[in-house]
Symmetry: C2
Subunit: 318 residues, 2 copies
């Protein structure tokens, strides 16, 4: 018997929240193929045991769907970060997300932001004139990574040839592969004074909101670099602007912002030591490919009754 998987929305639209071919549904078609590849069959929601949820936005439509279709026991979400779906996680269903799936491209983006910050790339890119700048090298620097998931692990692998001293801070006590030191998040303040490059790469939860704010900027050595590839809510934006303007922070590279999208005219757009990329660390093709790989694997595991990948910890919220 094939496992019965519903895909929401049932009509074909692109569902990862990016403005692409909405209405044509190339992603939904690929997800359907992935379900079949994993040994499942795509059925109407009314007959589904498992559900692949592709609708962007808030959790209410999902809650309504689960109310209407009580046979659904497992929900696969398409994002790595699922902070908006907290209300769903009190439900009895099993929830999985895409955490870890997109880590390779996000860590690559993080490395680029680190190098761009150290080497003053914004000034180079914005100045149409010869501008000799003494660069700073990443070689041998102390890098602190907030997070111990896929992005942290992949970033540490990319940093390996640079001979950095890497400290990883995470909730669990399991050592992060490749890190020189793994510490609990509560050690943040003791680590900041010796941190030259601070990378935010963890899940957004009530505990980690504004994990980097005025007190943390004050503890960093002057000229330190901040890179955020997680969620804008991790960083107190007002404190960030102040830290850049006082020179406390040497540079910031942000793929995520709060508010997001960052509105036109926001101070972060005009600072020449701030580089903002528009939440585009991973390509849409890569996201689709990795998401479909996870879906196929989880459908297979669901059919065999095996533990699923990317299981959301309801208590932790990610």
């Amino acid at each position: 018997m094939k496992v019965k998987i519903g895909i929401a929305p049932e009509k074909a639209i692109d569902g990862v929240g990016r403005p692409t071919d909405v209405g044509v549904g190339p992603l939904r078609a690929r997800v359907a193929e992935a379900v079949v590849r994993g040994g499942g069959e795509v059925v109407p929601l009314a007959e589904a045991e498992g559900l692949v949820w592709l609708l962007p936005g808030g959790p209410q439509p999902l809650l309504d769907t689960l109310d209407a279709h009580p046979d659904i026991r497992w929900v696969q979400l398409p994002w790595a970060g699922v902070e908006h779906f907290g209300p769903a996680f009190t439900r009895p269903q099993t929830f999985t997300c895409a955490k870890g799936s997109f880590a390779k491209q996000v860590s690559e983006h993080a490395l680029m932001l680190i190098l761009a910050c150290l080497r003053d790339l914004v000034r180079h890119a914005r100045t149409p004139s010869w501008l000799p700048i003494d660069p700073r090298s990443l070689g041998g620097r102390s890098v602190t990574i907030l997070g111990g998931g896929g992005i942290a692990t992949e970033l540490i692998a990319l940093l390996q040839p640079f001979g950095c001293r890497v400290t990883a801070l995470r909730r669990s006590s399991t050592p992060v592969p490749g890190a020189d030191v793994t510490l609990p998040l509560s050690s943040l303040h003791s680590v900041l004074p010796s941190t030259e490059v601070l990378v935010v790469a963890l899940a957004l939860t009530p505990e980690t909101r504004h994990v980097v704010g005025a007190p943390e900027f004050a503890l960093l050595p002057e000229g330190a670099v901040l890179v955020n590839v997680a969620r804008g809510g991790h960083v107190d934006t007002e404190a960030l602007v102040a830290a850049v303007d006082t020179g406390r922070l040497g540079a910031a590279g942000l793929d995520v912002t709060s508010p997001e999208p960052l509105p036109d005219g926001h101070p972060l757009w005009s600072r020449d030591r701030v580089l903002v990329t528009s939440h585009c660390a991973d390509s849409s093709e890569y996201v689709a490919e990795m998401l479909c790989a996870r879906i196929a694997e989880n459908v297979r595991r669901f059919g065999l009754g095996k533990p699923l990948e990317g299981l959301v910890d309801a208590g932790a919220g990610y």
Copy 2:
């Protein structure tokens, strides 16, 4: 007996050709320390057996110095690329340069330029507005490196975690450490059609001037990326602008240009797929440190009659 080393200029000025503390001479003082560290003593040029040459500019002052002081048997030059000093290499003295010394920071800069090109960083940096761009990843790409020296070797080490297919092209047939394939430079045209990222990292000689020009751009696949961290003269600038404007070239990252400095108003300043950094891949502190390390080591070897590091091949011109 200590080996007798002269340092030119004999008066204290900074000599690596960068506008720093000229007249104060912090570099000259450090070089003098390095000579002593290597077991030598700093003497007037009239008494010198070896000469550390720190004067920027052309070779004529050096030729005059060698004419005036025939006891000088060895000359240490402070640059990695010594293409302007060709006329000196017909002299009977032994010449060494800093080739290989600055490779770590230059290769780091090259990696940043590659990532910045693939991820459209110039547009991000110049657009003060949310601009979702589908990035290209470096992961698994085919990278062709022109050159088999220190920069190539160090860059290959940095590329290792990205799983790239690396082809190195060099004059000699000795395999470049870490490259998947090492080929002679004459294979360039056969390699270009499958090259996604082309990195120029070799010495400038009459043979390698304009090694990348219109015929080479025509052979690259559409959207390929060019990075030059060697010398501006390796690339035909007019052909480069044309390749960018036709879209044949996806992006270019240039730490060196021809002419250099790139004059204000030059087309390369205004293209949003071209990133120019102002010949600043390595920091002045790093250059001073690495140069002094080479000088100390070569003074030691000179005293022992051992083969020197960074020996200039007079025939090859580097």
